[in-house]
């Protein structure tokens, strides 16, 4: 037992020396994670799209069209940056990416309105920019309905009704929207909660491949095994301890920043959510071992690792839901650890679901760890015989 510990200690010391000799290790883990956390937390200001630029084509140019523009400008979600009497001008501004929506008030709008000729309002949005387009669309839709309401109010007032009575006639039905677990509709909470753990997972995967693969590439794996007394398990444990510690500390730090410091909501158990994150980190590390085990050429394993983990961001289904994916793609999504972490996050942070809902995902993450044991014989042979293309 003492010899085992001594060997692990020897491998660990060797690893620490290598780690501090090359700036890459710390920079690619701690540096990249700090930078990404800072970037994504400062990127989205309040997390709600406000003052989205739009245009109004005012062909009517009457008091009522100007009042309409004025009222629209007063809303928080849009900012009228262009008032013009030329539709092509507004359309060109949209093609230049300067505005996301165009609201057209036709010529004779006021005249037709008061003479009950039902003048039409037209509005146009772009879907080429989805958040900007949606926000502007919602505001223009609301505005178009308000126009109708405001006019009805005028007519009813002339008929001698009080405002209170009028309001109920104009608005007899209303929807109260509730955004479950993210009542502010905060885009930042939604996005960062999955993207930052995803980046951490990406780091774990790539760096694990690199740390093991570089021994193979530089043909130092014999020295590594010698330090471990020729024992593969000891060699792996000693090598991975420092990295695993770094990843786990980064994971805990990321969790504390998001849920304690910044205060993203957790409606279930923070402890279980953090446990899920740690499982995810270990699963990504294990996936790294599996990849370098299957493809002992460093470059191949890294290329595949990069491809695989980048796809995880889409396949996890946090932006484009899994239910909309084609069946084979859906099946593939279960092979991404990030998908399982995302589901644990939804269960714990958003839905406060019973723990058994997260259990299959926790087991799946554990399965990634066990799978890495299957490549042990192959990886061991590679460490000993260098039986792979070098470049």
């Amino acid at each position: 037992m003492k010899i085992i510990l001594q060997n692990i200690w020897r491998v660990l010391l060797r690893e620490l020396k290598m780690m501090f000799a090359r700036p890459l290790y710390l920079f690619a883990s701690v540096g990249v994670m700090l930078l990404s956390t800072f970037f994504f937390l400062t990127l989205m200001k309040g997390g709600a799209a406000e003052k989205m630029p739009m245009a109004v084509v005012d062909l009517d140019q009457t008091t009522i069209s100007r009042r309409l523009i004025h009222e629209m400008q007063a809303t928080p979600s849009v900012d009228i940056q262009l008032i013009t009497n030329s539709y092509p001008e507004a359309r060109q501004a949209m093609q230049n990416g300067k505005i996301y929506g165009i609201f057209v008030i036709r010529e004779g709008f006021y005249r037709d309105l008061v003479s009950f000729k039902r003048p039409q309002i037209d509005f146009y949005v772009t879907n080429a920019y989805t958040v900007g387009g949606n926000t502007t669309y919602k505001q223009m839709l609301t505005m178009a309905n308000l126009v109708s309401g405001a006019f009805q109010r005028e007519v009813l007032r002339k008929k001698g009704l009080t405002d209170d009575v009028i309001m109920h006639r104009i608005q007899p039905l209303a929807i109260e929207g509730h955004m479950v677990a993210n009542p502010w509709g905060n885009y930042s909470i939604y996005l960062v909660s999955t993207i930052l753990p995803g980046i951490l997972g990406l780091i774990c995967l790539m760096l694990t491949i690199f740390a093991i693969g570089f021994e193979l590439k530089a043909r130092t794996s014999h020295a590594w095994l010698r330090a471990a007394g020729g024992n593969y398990t000891i060699a792996m444990i000693g090598k991975l301890i420092p990295y695993t510690l770094i990843y786990l500390i980064l994971g805990i730090g990321c969790h504390l920043i998001l849920y304690r410091f910044v205060g993203f909501p957790v409606y279930g158990s923070t402890g279980r959510l953090m446990f899920g994150l740690l499982l995810f980190i270990l699963a990504m590390e294990a996936l790294g071992i599996t990849m370098i085990g299957l493809l002992p050429t460093l470059r191949d394993a890294l290329s595949i690792g990069a491809l695989y983990s980048m796809l995880g961001f889409s396949l996890s289904g946090f932006t484009y839901p899994q239910m909309a994916m084609l069946p084979p793609v859906k099946a593939l999504s279960y092979l991404e650890p990030l998908r399982h972490y995302y589901l644990i996050y939804v269960n714990e942070a958003l839905m406060a679901a019973p723990v058994e809902n997260s259990l299959p995902n926790a087991l799946a993450l554990t399965a990634f760890m066990l799978a890495s044991l299957c490549v042990a014989p192959r990886l061991h042979r590679a460490l000993v015989y260098w039986n792979y293309p070098l470049k």
Binding site: Q95, R118, I121, D122, A128, H168, P172, L202, L307, G317
Partner: protein, 391 residues
């Protein structure tokens, strides 16, 4: 090697040989560049998210609420899958992710509608684990609500003694028409894939050039002459011009992604975009010591560049510091220019009353290309002196 009269031609040919003899670079430059778009297209195959499951809690159990539900269920966006007797039951379904939304009619729904002064409420609960659920549920429900409301308004005006035609005209006093310009399907893939195509070109070039630079440095085969800079850039440009033409010109047409831009405009855009990326990547590659370290260090820039460019998150909502930084990344200008030309019909050569000019981004790309060309020349010069000193 003396058969080449000019050193530029020599380094151009050498670089082409190095690229094609290096399976790692071929995988990144050619295989990844061509495979990634196909994978993303498969991932976002269904543009729309349909039939989002919704639970119903109808405590009023009235003909009015049933009519509302019937009408809503007809919309392709959602499907009413569960009928619950209590909110608790529906919440349970939401928590277990069996449904992604709940619609709730209170007891007094029918009474409030029947009362000429009443106001009826519907509560709508949306799962925020993906913003696309909310969009599908909320927008389609809102549409049905507006239609039902008009009918109720007409009934109430008739009760007040207005004649039916007048009531109808009053309610429909300003009808509206909404149009999604340029990308009528408004799907997620139509929005994201053009941006992803540009990102693939950007990142594969960056990783590939860093791999070439790192390999040369590992093998002590570095050449930092000015001729080498031009020759290397030329070789990458030659390969990528073909790839970019396939990705940006051919791919959207083949797979039904929006493509209303003119081909000659797109080819014209490719030139400064590639030059800017190539010189930018050559600058970065000077700092890369190993063949693989570029990929490990820079993989997460793919997400950072994507978000910093202001495509998924509107550029107007990005803090000034990040926005200014983004101006130095070729992707920012390239992606917006491509979306403007390809998805919204802006142009470089065919500007007229209908097509706006994408010249701003195009010129910015040329400025970046020139800037990074000068930077790369400087860095190469410094590095050349350093290499000579070491020898």
């Amino acid at each position: 090697m003396s058969e080449y009269k000019y050193p530029i031609v020599k380094s151009f040919v050498t670089e082409l040989q190095r690229i094609f003899r290096d399976p790692g670079v071929v995988v990144i430059f050619i295989v990844a560049t061509l495979a990634y778009p196909l994978i993303y297209k498969a991932l976002y195959w269904n543009e729309q998210i349909n039939d989002v499951p919704v639970a119903v809690v109808d405590l009023s159990n009235s003909p009015e609420s049933r009519a509302f539900l019937h009408q809503w269920n007809a919309s392709p966006d959602i499907r009413l899958t569960h009928s619950c007797t209590s909110m608790a039951e529906a919440e349970q379904l939401l928590r277990n992710q069996k449904v992604h939304g709940i619609i709730y009619f209170p007891h007094d729904f029918e009474r409030q509608l029947a009362d000429p002064l009443g106001k009826a409420h519907i509560s709508l609960y949306c799962d925020m684990s993906s913003f696309l659920y909310m969009k599908a549920i909320y927008l389609s429900c809102n549409q049905v609500m507006l239609e039902s409301m008009r009918n109720i308004q007409i009934d109430r005006y008739e009760q007040m003694g207005m004649d039916k035609e007048f009531a109808w005209a009053l309610v429909q006093d300003a009808p509206y028409s909404e149009t999604a310009l340029f990308t009528p399907t408004g799907g997620y893939g139509s929005f994201l894939i053009p941006a992803v195509l540009m990102l693939i070109l950007h990142q594969t070039l960056l990783f590939g050039i860093c791999m070439l630079g790192g390999t040369a440095r590992e093998e002590n085969d570095e050449n930092y002459s000015f001729a080498s800079l031009i020759g290397r850039a030329g070789a990458c440009f030659l390969i990528y011009f073909g790839l970019a033409a396939i990705l940006l010109g051919f791919f959207p047409r083949l797979f039904g992604i929006p493509h209303i831009g003119a081909i000659d405009d797109i080819l014209l855009l490719i030139v400064p975009y590639l030059l800017a990326i190539i010189f930018f990547s050559l600058c970065v590659s000077v700092f890369i010591r190993n063949r693989e370290s570029g990929l490990v260090l820079l993989i997460s820039t793919s997400l950072i560049f994507l978000f910093m460019a202001g495509i998924s998150w509107p550029k107007e909502m990005i803090p000034a510091a990040w926005r200014y930084l983004s101006y130095f990344i070729p992707y920012t200008w390239g992606a917006h220019a491509f979306i403007h030309i390809n998805s919204m019909g802006a142009s470089l050569l065919h500007t007229n009353g209908f097509a706006a000019s994408a010249a701003t981004e195009w010129i910015a790309l040329w400025i970046l290309a020139a800037f990074y060309f000068i930077m790369a020349s400087g860095l190469f010069y410094i590095r050349k002196k350093r290499v000579l000193e070491n020898k």
